[in-house]
């Protein structure tokens, strides 16, 4: 519990200076990668380096100033890490642009700007993460609404067999990414109220205490509806993500390891059923088991990615020196293959470590948070992040069958980038609340009349 930190005379420092130092390093990573791409492909430093670097610096400084002003005690590592990942992702997308003559990097920079605006907006509008607990059911309904949107004819567009995009005014958007954040809030708000009932009331079946239907019912229904929609849309990656998220949050809220066993069994039976009835699942598994069975057809993407990793070796070919454009969708799902080819295993390990640090900081915020809702939201957001990275990177490196998801902050994809910036803003808000020193409760006078009036923050429910 974090409350003891104040009692033991232990106060977290603000660490904004450390954050600024790391942000400068992150900017060097991002702008350096951009310059290295120019050197590698055109043999000279790109002419718009000043403009590009200036814009990136402006965004990062804006985010930093916002954190300084409205969340002074927030975690110092999260913002620099995501800034570095985003900068590196932009450079790699720019590199693929030069090879394929597309203009995705500019669009991604626009999305990043929007992401930072939303990041600052979230921090400003949300002075206390517990306000989100008020929107437990609202956000759940909104999430389901967003998930249904792509199925509306005329609004939804089908890209590569998955109906998960909507296009409005020329912009295509994946509402599932936003729904992810909203569902974490719903699960957390519901579980924090009902966790005692879920953990204690109920019958024991074999080795696990099954909770009563009326306790588990609403949340289970919400989860089944969202999962059902995703299965109908053939979005395997997101269904896996939501399933794992629900399981992790239930386990964390009830402290019953039995849930993991039940969830694991459900997952494997569900996967077996999906394997039987969906041909595209069978396809994916076949490609995973033997990508070289059809190296120029169905296995082409994965085979090219594996060749890329192998050719990159330990330190890579150098930015601009490889041929990452051979991998289809190298700028979105397979961006790690492009990085592995041009920067090698050294950079891939660094990126995995950075993702690990993001998850660690999220769980850290959950550990030191003083209220149950904050703990659950931080755990849920950390779990979403970790699961998404595992699913996509595991798929690209052929550890598990490939399911389409974006690599957070690196991949091209506006909705994912914007949603991830909001996730980081919520995590910073929770860690700011958790690390802020408690108001001094010392009684200063014997006479109660002399005591100063204290502002007590009421937990909204």
């Amino acid at each position: 519990m974090a409350t003891n930190s104040a009692l033991m005379g232990f106060v977290h420092r603000r660490r904004r200076g450390a954050e600024l130092f790391l942000l400068i390093l992150a900017l060097i990573v991002g702008i350096g990668a951009y310059a290295a791409v120019g050197l590698g492909i055109e043999g000279e430093v790109p002419t718009n380096l000043i403009g590009y670097g200036g814009w990136l610096t402006l965004l990062v400084v804006a985010a930093h100033v916002a954190v300084r002003l409205v969340a002074p005690y927030a975690d110092p590592v999260l913002l620099p890490i995501v800034a570095a990942l985003n900068g590196l992702g932009l450079a790699v997308i720019h590199r693929l642009d030069l090879a394929k003559e597309t203009g995705l990097a500019t669009q991604q920079l626009v999305w990043m700007t929007l992401g930072v605006i939303l990041f600052v907006g979230t921090l400003v509008v949300l002075p206390d993460h517990r306000l989100l607990a008020r929107f437990t059911y609202t956000s759940g309904l909104t999430a389901i609404g967003l998930l249904v949107l792509p199925m509306i004819p005329g609004l939804g567009t089908e890209i590569n067999g998955a109906k998960i995009w909507i296009s409005v005014a020329g912009f295509s958007f994946q509402p599932g990414e936003i729904a992810k954040v909203l569902l974490v809030i719903t699960f957390a708000g519901y579980l924090v109220v009902h966790r005692d009932a879920l953990a204690l009331a109920g019958r024991r079946v074999v080795f696990i205490d099954l909770p009563r239907g009326r306790d588990l019912g609403p949340i289970l229904m919400m989860w089944v509806v969202s999962l059902g929609i995703l299965v109908l849309q053939r979005d395997l990656g997101s269904s896996l993500l939501f399933f794992g998220l629900f399981l992790v949050m239930l386990y964390v809220a009830t402290e019953r390891p039995g849930w993991l066993v039940v969830g694991g069994l459900l997952f494997f039976s569900g996967a077996a059923v999906a394997f039987r009835i969906f041909s595209h699942v069978q396809n994916r598994v076949d490609i995973w088991l033997d990508p070289f069975a059809d190296p120029n057809g169905s296995g082409y993407q994965l085979v090219q990615a594996l060749y890329g990793f192998a050719w990159g070796g330990l330190i890579g070919r150098g930015l601009g020196e490889g041929m990452p454009e051979r991998v289809p969708y190298a700028e979105s799902d397979f961006i790690l293959a492009a990085i592995g080819e041009e920067l090698g295993l050294t950079a891939v390990i660094a990126i995995l470590l950075l993702y690990g640090l993001v998850v660690e900081r999220a769980l850290r915020a959950a550990l030191i948070s003083r209220d149950g809702f904050g703990k659950l939201v931080a755990t849920g957001l950390g779990a979403v992040f970790a699961l998404q990275i595992f699913v996509v990177i595991g798929g690209v490196t052929r550890l598990i069958p490939l399911t389409g998801l974006t690599t957070p902050f690196l991949s091209y994809g506006g909705s994912s980038l914007v949603a991830n910036w909001v996730i980081i803003a919520i995590l910073l808000r929770i860690s700011d609340q958790a690390r802020r020193p408690l108001p001094d409760l010392k009684e200063s006078a014997e006479d109660p009349d002399e005591q100063a009036t204290q502002i007590v923050k009421v937990v909204p429910s």
Binding site: N4, G9, F10, V11, G32, A36, L39, G316, L343, T346
Partner: protein
């Protein structure tokens, strides 16, 4: 652009990437160990508050179990913080099925005693109020832990 230059650019970029990763880790490390203890004379505080507190009459000296299976057990408050629970390391060990291994503790801060729930399953109550944060307790306030009631005594 010569091969060598490009090689150096590549090595330099990987070095920067790893310097960033390692600095992030070192910031986390210093964040763990480098927390500062609040100074007693914080700015803007009344000078009166900094005065050492004289031992007052009517200060509690021990905790006693007043109701439940283990009625009569006491623990000296001089050895604060006093841990209450079912575990062997607890200063007040309770044989109560509704008590967690490390259930709650009583700590002192600035001459005031606080009771703090340590994330117990069934909660710690002051009256009908379940504790969510450390709450000041005085002489005779009844702290309910499972089926047991403890209080501070002189």
């Amino acid at each position: 652009m010569s091969e060598l230059t490009l090689f150096l650019v590549r090595i330099a970029f990987l070095a920067i990437l790893w310097i960033f990763v390692l600095s992030a880790i070192s910031v986390i490390r210093s964040d763990m160990f480098g927390a500062r203890v609040p100074t007693p004379a914080a700015p803007g505080k009344q000078p009166r508050a900094a005065k050492p507190q004289a031992p007052r009459r009517g200060q509690p000296s021990h905790v006693a179990v007043v109701q439940g299976v283990n009625t009569g057990i006491t623990a000296d408050l001089a050895q604060a913080p006093v841990l209450i629970g079912r575990g062997n390391d607890a200063a007040i060990r309770l044989d109560d099925d509704y008590v967690s291994t490390r259930h709650a503790r009583i700590v002192s801060s600035g001459g005031q005693w606080y009771v703090e729930d340590l994330g117990s399953t069934n909660g710690t109550y002051l009256g009908s109020q379940r504790l969510t944060q450390p709450v000041p307790v005085g002489l005779g306030s009844q702290i309910r832990i499972g089926k047991t009631i403890v209080e501070l005594r002189k």
